[in-house]
């Protein structure tokens, strides 16, 4: 049993009581709502004649079905089903007094991008959303969990979820990241090491020098993909990086109130002598950029490594999964992912749709054009991110390189809008899941990578090493990144 960790402290502060089934009733301090998983829950509330218990702690936006082409966002939406979902959300939030960030607000975007940038996500909170990537908010030192629709009903009606306390695994990430290696590479490495189901039953506390050195946007990317490693929640203890990020954001108190709040934030950090259920170390020193070669996020290699052979895996399940992956990806064991043909480049999502992601990709796109055979989409994670990019002129870099510059939404991460792969297209993607069919075509193939790697793939029309386009790049991709630029 863990003791003295942030998880223990936040849990205790939010625990209402123990339920007769043995679970704890946990208050949810921030409930994020989107159009796809909530209408059924609001419907259940109406059936039972129940009101939303804490509308002030509930915030909504639209992301999954949001069209990302400006002219397609006019109402009613051309897609009748999407229009119905969006209209239902608008009715539900209006009836319940829930703040809604719609298209016209200028703040619409992916829930896990919007809530952090507005300062809604803060240390020491419990956060729930009907979306598995809710772990993202753990980057601030909160407990964020993805929930199903019946649990959304629970939160709407009672402000609470019924939950089992999990084990806490400390994940120490050692080393220093080289130029062109990012938070995305770190979390892919963690998943490679610990497995796609290694985190089941656990919460991950990420720490160590490689994590502490990350800015908030990098930390958000790490925590975001906890669920890809099987951990429903993952978090990072808050520090000065966290507090500096929060200062001045819309929903963060100012002045003396900020300092008071900070006292709480500091109080919930894991104690120096906290006890963990287990501690693992991941070595990120000298890490090369990672790319997936298969059909789950754990099937990933450093770009300098060959695609593994199924026999390389000890576990039967991993061998079988590797066979399926090679078959689906139409790739041979032993070959390099460098040069793997790419049809689509997709930059965005709740993992990598933030300002720093677009900045890094833009560094590569300066003075380079997208390969003529590549369809390239840049989809800011929120309208706020889009505005920031446009203020910096980054949008022009993308447009001049040959990217389509879009409006905010989940887009091709799961293809619930018009942005989808066709046939067996290969997508170099900054998203989080390479599952078969995930990007809208069951023959489609996804290669997960960092935003910089997506930009490099867009330019070359094949998987490439982004470091070749950056200053102080690698010396032949042999893994020897010597210099750490800022």
């Amino acid at each position: 049993m863990s003791e003295g960790t942030l998880y223990d402290k936040v849990w205790d502060r939010h625990k209402v009581t123990e339920l007769p089934n043995g679970q704890d009733q946990l208050f949810v301090g921030l409930h994020l709502v989107h159009e796809v998983t909530s209408p059924q829950a609001f419907g259940m509330l109406r059936e039972r004649d129940l009101d939303v218990a804490y509308p002030d702690r509930t915030f909504a936006t639209t992301d999954h079905i949001a069209p990302t082409e400006a002219d397609k966002r006019e109402r009613p939406l051309a897609d009748d089903q999407a229009e119905e979902m969006l209209s239902a959300l608008e009715r539900n939030v209006s009836d319940s007094g829930i703040t809604f960030f719609g298209f016209e607000s200028g703040k619409q975007g992916i829930t896990h991008v919007v809530a952090p940038e507005l300062g809604l996500s803060q240390p020491g909170m419990t956060v729930a959303c009907g979306d598995s990537h809710t772990a993202t908010h753990g980057a601030f030192g909160s407990i964020g969990v993805g929930i199903g629709t019946s649990q959304i009903r629970d939160v709407l009606a009672t402000g609470c979820i019924a939950a089992d306390k999990q084990k806490v695994r400390r994940v120490n990430v050692e080393g220093e990241l080289g130029e062109g290696v990012y938070a995305k590479d770190v979390i892919l490495k963690v998943i490679q090491d610990l497995g796609v189901d290694g985190g089941v039953g656990h919460v991950y506390e990420y720490g160590g020098p490689a994590i502490e050195a990350l800015d908030m946007e990098g930390r958000l990317a790490v925590c975001n993909m906890s669920i890809e490693g099987g951990a429903r929640a993952g978090y990072i203890n808050p520090d000065e990086t966290t507090y500096e990020y929060l200062k001045g954001r819309e929903y963060v108190p100012e002045g003396e109130a900020f300092e008071e709040r900070k006292t709480y934030w500091e109080s919930i950090s894991s104690d120096a002598d906290a006890e963990y259920d287990d501690v693992v170390t991941v070595d990120a020193d000298g890490l090369d950029p990672l790319v997936t070669w298969g059909i789950n996020p754990g099937q990933v290699i450093e770009i300098s490594e060959p695609v593994p052979h199924p026999d390389d895996f000890e576990a039967r399940t991993d061998r079988e999964a590797a066979e399926q992956a090679l078959d689906h990806m139409e790739i041979e064991a032993g070959q390099s992912m460098l040069g793997y043909d790419v049809d689509v480049a997709f930059l965005g999502t709740c993992t990598n749709g933030r300002l720093s992601d677009f900045r890094e990709a833009a560094r590569i796109l300066e003075n380079h054009d997208v390969d003529e055979d590549v369809r390239a989409l840049a989809v800011p994670g929120s309208e706020t991110v889009r505005a920031q990019c446009e203020a910096e002129g980054i949008d022009q870099t993308f447009i001049e390189a040959g990217f389509q510059w879009r409006r905010a939404g989940c887009s091709m991460c799961l293809a619930m809008n018009d942005d989808a792969l066709e046939g067996d297209e290969v997508c170099a993607s900054s998203s989080n899941r390479n599952f078969v069919g995930r990007q809208g075509s069951k023959e489609g193939r996804t290669v997960l990578m960092s935003p910089a790697m997506v930009a490099a793939a867009a330019v070359e029309g094949e998987v490439a090493d982004a470091r070749d386009y950056l200053d102080d790049g690698p010396t032949g991709g042999a893994g020897g990144v010597e210099e750490v630029a800022d």
Binding site: V16, N21, V36, G148, E260, R261, M416, V436, R438
Partner: protein
């Protein structure tokens, strides 16, 4: 009308039974179980039609020999490890339930998927790899064979075979005692919630 916080979740689920359907494969994600394109509906009513939509069809869109096409009418799904990983979409177990699945035997489940099953009153029990594979093979050989999941006793019976299975404590307690509707359970604790909220500086600060 007074609010009715408990609508159906007070049913005691001590055992479920019926014929089986094997759904083999590890790490079967919820995108496979219910592809995202079919989530654009504001109710769960039609979800059964979309269950494993892509996997059940060949390139021409015709139904193939996927187990769900061969074992129509089954009530017990038998799955392998990390079933239901990925997206939190309750659409996945909703689709299984509406297709006819009343209970699941598997090697392991992703957490959110298992939670969703509990919310819906679907027992999701576990056994080791060999045991699960043996049951999957038995179903292939005995498509009309009867399978019984005893949630309370933590056993599964098929043919002449009785196997021990594990049921997560909270799930067993909730289903057997008829307290799996957590909205109802928690709604009755409203005054206690107010006390908890009063101790949270960030909620107070926003008022």
């Amino acid at each position: 009308m007074a609010p009715d916080a408990n609508a159906g979740g007070d049913q005691h689920i001590t055992e479920v039974s019926g014929t089986g359907v094997p759904i083999p494969g590890d790490d079967v994600d919820t995108d496979q179980i219910l592809p995202a394109q079919f989530m654009k509906e504001v109710t769960f009513d039609n979800m059964a039609d979309y269950l494993f939509y892509d996997a059940r069809r060949d390139e021409d869109g015709e139904l193939n020999d996927h187990p769900l096409n061969r074992f129509d009418g089954a009530s017990i799904a038998v799955v392998n490890s990390n079933f239901g990983c990925g997206s939190s979409r309750e659409h996945a177990p909703q689709a299984m339930m509406r297709w006819g699945v009343d209970g699941i035997v598997g090697e392991s489940y992703a957490e959110i998927f298992r939670d969703n099953c509990k919310s819906l009153g679907i027992p999701a029990v576990t056994a080791d790899h060999e045991t699960v594979v043996a049951l999957q093979e038995w179903i292939e050989a005995n498509p009309d064979g009867h399978i019984d999941i005893d949630v309370e006793g933590e056993t599964v019976t098929y043919g002449d075979t009785v196997i021990d299975v594990e049921v997560d404590d909270a799930m067993r307690e909730a289903l057997v005692e008829g307290i799996w509707d957590t909205t109802a359970l928690m709604y009755s604790n409203r005054s206690k919630v107010d006390e908890t909220v009063a101790g949270l500086p960030y909620v107070e600060g926003d008022d």
